[in-house]
């Protein structure tokens, strides 16, 4: 069943409404339908409007044309059932890791109005999540005391604490080294199995997309449109060993061919 539906979506940046001809067309005629609990990846060259699609789904920007529906309702304001994570961990440096993770509970209802009563419960909730990503011993640390990979783990916990139905990830592992990144693929895969939420992952790393997602959509260079959708029929959960299997490599190669030619020899 379709959960998130984008129909003929155009988005123009820098048009202040008066001159629709001006501004940059960031996304053009995007059609996308995402099922409940699906893990979907968007790949494409940089600046192709991948992040913009995430903002459209989150309701942070409104399309200039077309419609964005979540759960059969038009998205007209920021959704509150969304968790977001970015390349930059954006943890609050004045809070320890546990309090950082608990930030959404101070904002999203119904947690917000029950903060005092549920204090112990919320703490447990944060610590359960932190344990899931291997940060049990770091709840009391300050963000700067953690490495980049650990900060990203904490950020994933913050994105999930209020049990959102949609998790939007904008190149969350792009700034990490390869080994750390592969570790976090496992972490994210586990979190998905644990939470069963719908995940949209924006990445430019094709192996990451194939490793994690059930469906990979390839976007063209600006103005971004979806030029290829491919379902990944790998046995789940994926392991590092499967990334060396011929079928995995073949999937990555097929996607690569759609991104546009690299430098010709």
């Amino acid at each position: 069943m379709t959960f998130i539906q984008l129909t003929d979506v155009d988005l123009i940046y820098g048009s202040a409404g008066s001159n629709p001809g001006e501004g940059t067309l960031a996304v053009s005629s995007a059609n996308l339908s995402i099922a409940h609990g699906e893990f979907l990846a968007l790949v494409g060259p940089s600046g192709c409007g991948k992040s913009t699609l995430l903002k459209l789904i989150a309701g942070l920007v409104r399309p200039n044309r077309g419609s964005v529906k979540v759960d059969n309702e038009e998205v007209i304001r920021p959704l509150k059932t969304v968790g977001m994570a970015f390349q930059n961990a954006t943890l609050l440096p004045w809070r320890n890791i546990r309090d950082n993770v608990m930030l959404p509970l101070e904002i999203v209802e119904p947690y917000r109005s029950r903060q005092k009563e549920d204090r112990a419960q919320n703490r447990d909730r944060a610590e359960t999540l932190l344990a899931k990503v291997g940060l049990s011993d770091f709840a009391d640390r300050m963000p700067w005391q953690l490495s980049g990979g650990m900060q990203q783990r904490a950020q994933l916990c913050r994105a999930l604490i209020h049990e959102p139905s949609i998790l939007l990830l904008d190149e969350p592992f792009a700034a990490l080294d390869t080994f750390t990144r592969e570790e976090l693929w496992d972490v994210l895969q586990e979190l998905w199995a644990f939470r069963k939420c719908t995940i949209v992952l924006v990445t430019h790393e094709l192996r990451e997309a194939v490793f994690l997602a059930q469906t990979v959509h390839v976007m063209s260079a600006r103005p971004g449109r979806i030029i290829k959708s491919r379902s990944v029929d790998l046995p789940r959960p994926c392991t590092l060993a499967s990334t060396f299997q011929p079928h995995f490599v073949e999937l990555v190669q097929d996607l690569r061919n759609h991104i546009g030619p690299g430098k010709q020899p």
């Binding site: 903002k55 942070l60 509150k80 609050l92 101070e106 300050m142 005391q145 953690l146 490495s147």
Partner: protein, 260 residues
């Protein structure tokens, strides 16, 4: 002597060297007392006029702090507004810069026309000199919040107030305390200037009377009192800053970084 205790002694040592050089110069060039008194004469003046200096010092201190407190409240509010809204920023910031470039001493006579002589012009001058660094720092802190963080907050449905309370204000604290240290010293400058031009009490007034009597030793003694009060206030806010914004000072010796 360890490097640490040397560092602690350093400000006293430089002060002592400076005083010694001053003294030496006065003696060596045979400078008249009414031009430049020796440190010893200044010290004598401090003692002789201790009562007047104390009373007027207190007056200056309270005037300064009053103007300063108003500047903190006003500066913080204005800084939040200017830093949160791009429209407010472009509407107000150039005006603030222009306003801050006006020599405040030149405004004191106008305040006297409006409010009469005495404490009010001094409070206003102290306020006017000290609010700008606070506005500028708070506005910077608010305007430089990471856009991703704002997106996280907006996607959670956070209101403008949530963002100000949960992100903006805590984030601006290091900037705020840094600006307080500057602002409080400027507030002293403001109140003393106003007292010199139009005061009927305060350290500035003492200086005015003393210099018209060629009592230069007393002028210097009064300057010394202002300097001490400035350093004292600076030190107090320095302690506050360390207490309240420890998170922004990374890598203190007791903490260690984790890999992984």
């Amino acid at each position: 002597m360890s490097a640490n205790s040397l560092q602690r002694l350093a400000p006293w040592l430089t002060a002592a060297v400076l005083v010694a050089a001053w003294w030496l110069a006065v003696v060596a060039f045979d400078i008249k007392t009414f031009v430049l008194p020796t440190p010893w004469e200044v010290l004598k003046a401090l003692y002789t006029y201790r009562y007047a200096l104390f009373i007027n010092g207190l007056a200056t201190l309270s005037t300064t702090l009053l103007g300063f407190v108003v500047a903190v409240v006003f500066g913080m509010a204005l800084g939040i507004v200017v830093g949160s809204s791009r429209l407010a920023y472009s509407a107000l910031y150039p005006l603030l810069v222009g306003f801050n470039s006006v020599p405040k001493a030149a405004l004191v006579p106008i305040f006297v026309i409006w409010f009469g002589t005495g404490t009010v012009p001094a409070v206003i001058t102290a306020f006017m000199l000290s609010f700008f660094p606070i506005v500028a720092n708070i506005a910077t802190a608010f305007a430089t919040i990471e856009p991703e963080l704002l997106e996280v907050m907006r996607s959670l449905g956070a209101s403008q107030r949530d963002m100000t309370v949960k992100i903006g204000i805590p984030r601006s604290m290091p900037y705020f305390f840094a600006s307080l240290k500057i602002a409080v010293t400027l507030a002293f400058v403001g109140s003393v200037i106003a007292e010199i031009v139009a005061g009927n009490n305060g350290i500035g007034n003492v200086m005015l009377i003393a210099s018209s009597n060629f009592n230069v030793s007393l002028v210097f003694a009064a300057l010394f009192v202002v300097g001490i009060m400035g350093v004292g206030m600076y030190a107090i806010f320095d302690i506050f800053e360390r207490r309240m914004t420890a998170w922004s000072v990374r890598g203190s010796a007791t903490l260690q970084q984790f890999g992984g």
